[in-house]
Amino acid sequence: MKYLLFAFFLISQTSYALDSRQLADPIKQENYEILTKELRCLVCQNQTIADSNAELASDLRRQVYEMLEQGKTNDEIVQFMTDRYGDFVLYKPAFKGKTSILWIAPGAFLVLGLLIVYIFIRQKRVSRTEQGETVNAKLDSEKQKKIRRLLEKGDQS
């Protein structure tokens, strides 16, 4: 039963194909699959047009399919879509002024985070050694003697 259930999940993972469009040319077919996975469905926003069931997504898939059949290049199709829907339609927007923050921010935050961690650790280390020294100094002066005395006493008994 367990295995059956497991098998069921495997099937449901792979059988979501929403459209049966097949281009005769395997290269075009590959481009079709690449493009539909890079274009965002504008109705559902967090799905690609390959994944989405929305009507607009299916219209856009049709558009991509037809343009590939007409021999349009991937760049031309991407340009066609951005001309109409803006950069938002792309899951991988081109690097330019408007989108630079999207590309730079993750790296900048990583560097910033590492910097903060570095400063934090360094500060901790410095303060710990400082503390250690003062503690040691105190121990040296009075307590060290007391400890020694106690230890000697212990040895005698």
């Binding site: 219209d59 558009q63 109409r84």
Partner: protein
């Protein structure tokens, strides 16, 4: 002292970002068409399919292109507002009947009133793609030279008419 200032500044920065995030509407995608020529089409009119309409026919007029469909629920809410606007006679309203059944569309206009000078049909949604339509209803404001000057995604409300559309239409009518 620094120990308290740094977290406080970080908190302020985060609060500003989150605050701005709250006020954004992710469903409203900025249209790349603003100040660009209205994409051309030549489409059959809903009422008289033999006749065609294209944006070139409307050069010299300020016009609205309102994307609607009989299956679209928010279009029903928007419809009386368009009827009112049409009664004011300040602007030509063209309907783009998007992915709809013509019979249903005609029936809708018969029962709810027809604010459109003409409606054109786009049963396959191709004109819709050319105009970057992704959420019906949508309304484009196009000037006398055929340039798109404004786009609204979602239903037009009475406030939108008073605050945005009417002032913009008056301004565009004054342009030569």
């Amino acid at each position: 002292m620094l120990k308290y200032i740094i977290p406080f500044i970080l908190f302020i920065i985060m609060a500003v970002f989150l605050g701005v995030g709250l006020s954004l509407k992710p469903s409203e995608i900025p249209s790349p068409f603003i100040n660009k020529p209205a994409p051309s089409f030549s489409a059959a009119k809903l009422e008289v399919p033999e006749e065609k309409l294209s944006p070139a026919d409307l050069i010299g007029q300020v016009w609205l292109l309102n994307v609607w469909a009989s299956w679209c629920v928010s279009c029903r809410g928007e419809h009386p507002i368009l009827n009112n606007l049409a009664d004011k006679n300040v602007v030509t309203i063209i309907g783009l009947n998007y992915k709809d059944d013509p019979a249903n569309a005609k029936q809708w206009l018969d029962t709810l009133g027809n604010p459109y000078s003409a409606s054109i049909t786009d049963q396959e949604g191709r004109i819709g793609i050319d105009y970057g339509v992704y959420g019906v209803p949508e309304t484009f404001v196009i000037d006398k030279k055929g340039i798109i000057r404004h786009k609204q995604t979602g239903p037009v409300t009475e406030q939108d008419v008073q605050n945005i559309l009417l002032p913009l239409i008056a301004k565009l009518q004054a342009e030569s």
